[in-house]
């Protein structure tokens, strides 16, 4: 086993996710490019989903498979979810981490994990 800290540990683990989730969700809701996908969605349920997403993107424990990602976003793909929307989410994610003074090298690693789900999220 490596003695090196994992990305999740470097970012601060669950506490970091908790610090990020409200900031990230606010950015997403006020981002005109993607906010319409969140209209009429229960905010409480959505906040828990945002937390799951952040935990995964931070390299934390999760059991999501590519198939889960496809199923979870299929209804949004039908409504026109495309690459530009994924770009917006990854930008909002990076901006959230900058606001929390996370270093650019770690931000790049988080963005890379988020990026790795792109094809599954978009169902291709």
């Amino acid at each position: 086993m490596s003695q090196q800290q994992s990305l999740y540990e470097k970012l601060g683990g669950e506490a970091a996710v908790n610090a990020a989730v409200d900031i990230f969700y606010r950015k997403v809701l006020s981002d005109d490019r993607i906010s319409s996908f969140f209209e009429g969605v229960d905010m409480e349920t959505q906040a828990a989903k945002q937390k799951s997403f952040l935990t995964m993107a931070f390299g934390g424990p999760h059991n999501y498979s590519g198939l889960d990602m496809r199923r979870g976003h299929a209804h949004l793909v039908e409504r026109g979810l495309n690459d530009a929307h994924v770009d917006a989410v990854i930008e909002d994610l990076a901006a959230t981490l900058r606001e929390l003074n996370v270093g650019e090298d770690l931000i790049a690693q988080v963005a890379a994990i988020a990026e790795s789900t792109r094809n599954d999220v978009l169902g291709r």
């Binding site: 908790n18 989730v21 969700y25 809701l29 905010m43 937390k51 935990t55 999760h62 999501y64 979870g72």
Partner: protein, 326 residues
């Protein structure tokens, strides 16, 4: 050996097995997603026994206090009786005697009920009151356990309301009704007594808020408490005298009655309750919010409160949805 009891079935919990795995492997359709204690899809409630603290990680305080837990990270060391979060039937129907009925304004009736069996509740939760076995409606509790002997409801008479109309027109003191509950997670949790509270209610949405405020004050909440109660005109407001008395008694309590239907006399704010609240307190970072009443107001105010800095975990809401069958 630890047993998990669900809907009259007993399942033996395997070694290192989660409650979720135990139930799903035996065919119980518990919904789940992340299986790592984050997404809250597998939320369940312990109706017997106490779930381990670790299985409540990340849940709202009001859910923790009611023994909700996440099945995927729940590894109990003692027997647990569990239910799905919306299994109403786990609660018994309790008879209750109507002690008094009193109009609070032209359309809202104060209903006082004495339960025939003890009921454990928190001010701000709701009960279901039944006109008959198949016809019940949810009403919020304005009473405070330990302060009030009986349950207090504020029942607004709805046009063609089959339960509210019956309560207003036919129900009499001394009669016995059936209730079930409590439910809901819009209530005061002890701790963090210096945190500011903002409560916004429309119409009979004042009922849970009146309970929550008195509960917080009786538990020595020291932070500022701001109540914004809204109605179209003066006739829609009620308990104004009682609330002004509370303002006299508690320096940290502030009451702003709001009128949305035009000019407001001295002592009243003009505008909708949520608009007035967000004008007066524009930065809601670190505030605890309680939103009750008209669903449109509750949904809009929840988003506004969150965007104005309130944390999701600090926003408690109860939308009064009107039954489609009235």
């Amino acid at each position: 050996m630890v047993n998990i009891r669900y809907a009259k079935d007993n399942f033996e919990l395997g070694e290192n097995q989660s409650v979720l795995d135990c139930l799903t492997s035996r065919g119980v359709p518990v919904p789940f997603s992340c299986r790592s204690g984050v997404c809250q899809t597998c939320l369940m409630r312990a109706t017997g026994g106490t779930p381990p603290e670790s299985s409540q990680n990340g849940l709202k305080d009001t859910l923790k206090l009611q023994n909700y837990f996440l099945a995927c990270i729940c590894h109990p060391t003692a027997d647990l009786e569990v239910a799905m979060p919306n299994d109403d039937d786990v609660q018994a129907v309790i008879p209750a005697t109507v002690k008094s009925l009193k109009l609070l304004n032209s359309e809202i009736m104060h209903v006082e009920l004495e339960c025939h069996a003890p009921i454990e509740y928190r001010a701000g939760q709701f009960i279901n009151l039944f006109r008959d076995r198949s016809l019940g409606r949810s009403y919020s509790l304005a009473s405070v356990p330990h302060e009030d002997d009986h349950l207090h409801l504020h029942v607004r008479r709805l046009p063609q309301g089959r339960v509210s109309g019956w309560i207003h027109e036919e129900l009499r003191p001394g009669e016995t009704v059936e209730i079930r509950g409590p439910g809901g997670d819009c209530f005061y949790t002890p701790g963090n007594t210096e945190q500011g509270l903002v409560l916004i209610g429309t119409g009979s949405g004042l009922a849970p808020l009146y309970g929550i405020i008195r509960d917080a004050l009786s538990q020595n909440h020291t932070g500022p408490i701001h109540l914004f109660h809204g109605s179209r005109d003066l006739n829609g407001l009620y308990l104004t005298g009682e609330l002004r008395d509370l303002v006299e008694r508690y320096s940290n309590f502030n009451y702003v009655p709001c009128l949305s239907g035009g000019d407001a006399p001295h002592g009243f704010a003009a505008g909708r309750a949520d608009d007035v609240a967000f004008q007066q307190i524009s930065n809601l970072k670190n505030w605890r919010m309680f939103l009750c009443g008209h669903p449109d107001m509750v949904i809009a105010a929840r988003k506004k409160a969150f965007m104005a800095g309130a944390s999701m975990k600090d926003i408690y809401a109860d939308a009064f949805n009107v039954s489609q069958s009235s």
